[in-house]
């Protein structure tokens, strides 16, 4: 396994941070009228995932899915347009928790834990057709207590499915702390099924990459699933507008301080390794410009046609209304 390119990781994480900030700003302007879950603080996991994924791999993500979509290479403008309630990735019908792309194959679900069975089915379909292909089932720490995830681990182990169960452990299921909701160690959750588990520091792309490595290798070589748990912290509330009174200020300040913030921490590390500050500043500026460009392009995507709100329920329109084809 080659090492992750940290300078490239920094550039990408800067893009991810700006992307999520732009989406957060769109909530304030009212371009997004509904619930919005951002992945700020969790960029190191997505960037390591990006380094591990092949374009033919699939990702099934959660209610906090944007960075995983970007990591797989989903068209950022179509993605952003969907988030901005335009006729984007899902024609404005999916929204930010229900993003679907066929190529690359990405989907997500707003139901906690529901991504795991879907990922197993995707892997089942692909395992004979395209051996070596991997399906990533993203979960949060909260979803690891869902029966769907346990059932899926059993199924994946039995059928040696090429699945990587990637758990983003940001410490909270909405307001409930992990230690209040979760018994035992998350990385051990696959142990009874014979599934190896890897715990890592989810704020360090190199550590996440190192943990994902054996999991992807195992899946690609047909040996079955793995569990990877990446510990991190969400910098925003559960959703935009969350008063976030449940997390102690000291805890937030600590996790979000420059030495622990995944982005500034990596920057400091690159600086210490001799990367010129101007280069890092340039990466920041490029990220800013890139996201601004996507935003402009996304804002020019038309809004969905209200007359087509009843389309796409079935293959043929009108099936529910009793209209004969």
């Amino acid at each position: 396994m080659t090492a992750i390119d940290l300078a490239d990781a920094y550039r990408t994480m800067a893009v991810y941070r700006r992307f999520e900030e732009a989406v957060g700003a769109a909530v304030v302007t009212g371009e997004v009228h509904g619930e919005m879950h951002l992945g700020i603080g969790q960029e190191a996991i997505a960037v390591a995932l990006r380094a591990m994924l092949e374009p033919t791999d699939a990702v099934v993500s959660t209610h906090r899915p944007h960075l995983h979509a970007l990591a797989l290479g989903v068209d950022p403008v179509a993605l952003l347009a969907e988030l901005l309630e335009r006729s984007g990735l899902s024609g404005g019908k999916g929204g930010h928790m229900h993003l679907f792309s066929r190529d690359p194959q990405f989907m997500c679900t707003g139901i906690v834990g529901a991504s795991a069975p879907l990922a197993c089915g995707d892997a089942l379909a692909q395992q004979r057709r395209d051996p070596g292909r991997v399906t990533v089932a993203v979960a949060g720490d909260g979803s690891m207590n869902q029966g769907a995830v346990f059932e899926s681990m059993n199924l994946a182990a039995l059928w040696r499915l090429p699945v990587v169960f990637l758990c983003e452990d940001n410490g909270y299921g909405i307001s409930v702390r992990r230690d209040v909701a979760t018994a035992g160690q998350l990385a051990d959750r696959g142990t009874p099924f014979g599934i190896p588990g890897h715990a890592c520091d989810g704020t360090d792309p190199e550590a996440v990459y190192a943990a994902l490595g054996p999991a992807f290798e195992r899946a690609r070589s047909g040996d079955g699933p793995s569990v990877v748990v990446a510990t991190c912290y969400r910098f925003r509330g559960h959703y935009e507008g969350d008063a976030d009174t449940y997390r102690p200020k000291g805890e937030k300040d600590d996790w979000m301080s420059a030495p622990r913030d995944p982005l500034s921490r990596l920057r400091a590390r690159l600086e210490a390794a001799g990367v010129p500050v101007v280069e890092l500043d340039a990466a920041d500026a490029a990220a800013e410009a890139e996201v601004a460009g996507w935003l402009e392009a996304a804002r020019s995507v038309p809004f969905p046609d209200v007359d087509r709100v009843r389309d796409d329920v079935y293959a043929a329109p009108g099936a529910r209304q009793g209209v004969r084809a």
Binding site: A58, V60, S87, L89, S90, G91, G92, K93, G94, H98, F100, S101, R102, Q105, M107, T109, G110, I111, A114, A116, P117, L118, A119, C120, G121, D122, A123, L124, A125, Q126, R128, R129, G147, A148, E151, S152, N154, L155, L158, W159, D311, D312, V313, Y314, A315, A319, R320, Q321, G322, V323, R324, A325
Partner: protein
């Protein structure tokens, strides 16, 4: 009305034969579920499939309905055409999220980009197994936009609607009534001529199995068979009762229902699913909305309690040919009383 001759097969054999033919025709069809491979299904509806198609296409699953129904959806989205068996429809409760939130909505949530062409087959209806193994729950599925619901009433439709279900690009809930699975086709009140290979039966087109006049009984699944028996009994009393089989709850042949209602003096809807907020109400609303004051007298006959264990209690609440006849009789006499002298 029974054209099956001396055919000794039952419905489950017909399902298995149809699955066999479809797996032969289309290599993307796989079958998965509890006890479907080694045992061939608890009702025998997947018998001998594994022998022909092997472990790769016929998969016994753990008792994990969320995982294997969800996996069927994921596999469908990735290009397969899974036929997944939910052994008893009552087990819906342990996998409803995958059905309601994933299966039903993938097409819509993706703006049409992603489809989930799969069939969820499930055994429904009362065979003396009480409240958790006797339900029908057809309306629970039919309530959710994105699902199609087929409910065959006869051996021919078990074959023909299943063909359509497997070839359909939308997720289809295929409800197999246990009496239809278990009864020899020649012993049913109604059976088509099964000597020719099955043709696909289009969804959303009801059929009239018996002409009436005084009252038309609308039903689905095995209740259609019972309604035909009831109609026979009513004829001996001088009441002309027609029988209409809706065949698919979604899509529902609303035009056909209105046409049938317009031609009837009274319309009785029979269901072995729960009465409230169900198929009966949907049919009656469709007719009432279209015909207004011109609608025939309308009534429903369906369950309003959980299904009890004791035989006498069960018979008191689950529709039977006798109870359907009684309901029709009551409706006809009420209609007659309404007619001005």
């Amino acid at each position: 009305m029974n054209a099956a001759g001396s055919d000794r097969r039952n419905g489950s054999q017909l399902v298995a034969e149809t699955l066999h033919a479809e797996m032969d025709r289309d290599p993307s069809v796989i079958v998965l579920g509890e006890d479907v491979a080694e045992l061939g299904g608890v009702f025998g509806a997947t018998r001998r499939l594994r022998r022909t198609y092997g472990d790769e296409r016929v998969l016994d699953t753990p008792i994990s309905e969320t995982a294997f129904v969800g996996a069927a959806i994921g596999a469908a989205q990735a290009g397969l055409r899974p036929v997944v068996e939910l052994m008893f429809v009552d087990f819906l409760g342990v996998c409803f999220d995958q059905i309601m939130n994933q299966m039903a909505k993938a097409r819509y949530m993706s703006g049409g980009a992603v489809t989930a062409p799969l069939v969820l087959r499930s055994a429904v209806g009362c065979i003396g197994a009480a409240a958790q193994h006797s339900q029908v729950l057809s309306a629970t599925f039919a309530h959710i936009p994105g699902l199609k619901v087929a409910f065959p009433a006869s051996p021919g439709d078990l074959r023909g609607l299943l063909l359509t279900a497997i070839r359909d690009d939308d997720p289809v809930i295929f409800l197999e009534h246990k009496w239809l699975l278990k009864t020899r086709v020649a012993e049913l009140p109604f059976c088509e001529d099964l000597s020719e290979p099955a043709d696909a039966v289009p969804f959303g087109e009801l059929r009239r199995l018996r002409d009436g006049g005084d009252v038309t009984i609308v039903a689905a699944g095995f209740m259609v068979q019972l309604a035909l028996t009831a109609a026979e009994a009513l004829e001996a009393e001088g009441i002309r009762a027609g029988v209409v089989d809706v065949r698919t709850l979604v899509p529902l042949d609303r035009e056909g229902l209105v046409r049938e209602a317009a031609a009837a003096d009274a319309l009785l809807v029979v269901d072995d699913d729960y009465a409230d907020y169900g198929m009966c109400g949907e049919v009656i609303a469709t007719v009432a909305e279209a015909l207004g004051r011109g609608a025939p007298r309308l009534a429903r006959h369906a369950l309003d309690v959980p299904i009890p264990a004791n035989r006498a209690l069960e018979e008191a609440v689950v529709p039977s040919a006798a109870s359907i006849a009684a309901a029709a009789r009551g409706l006809v006499s009420a209609s007659a009383a309404q007619v001005p002298a």
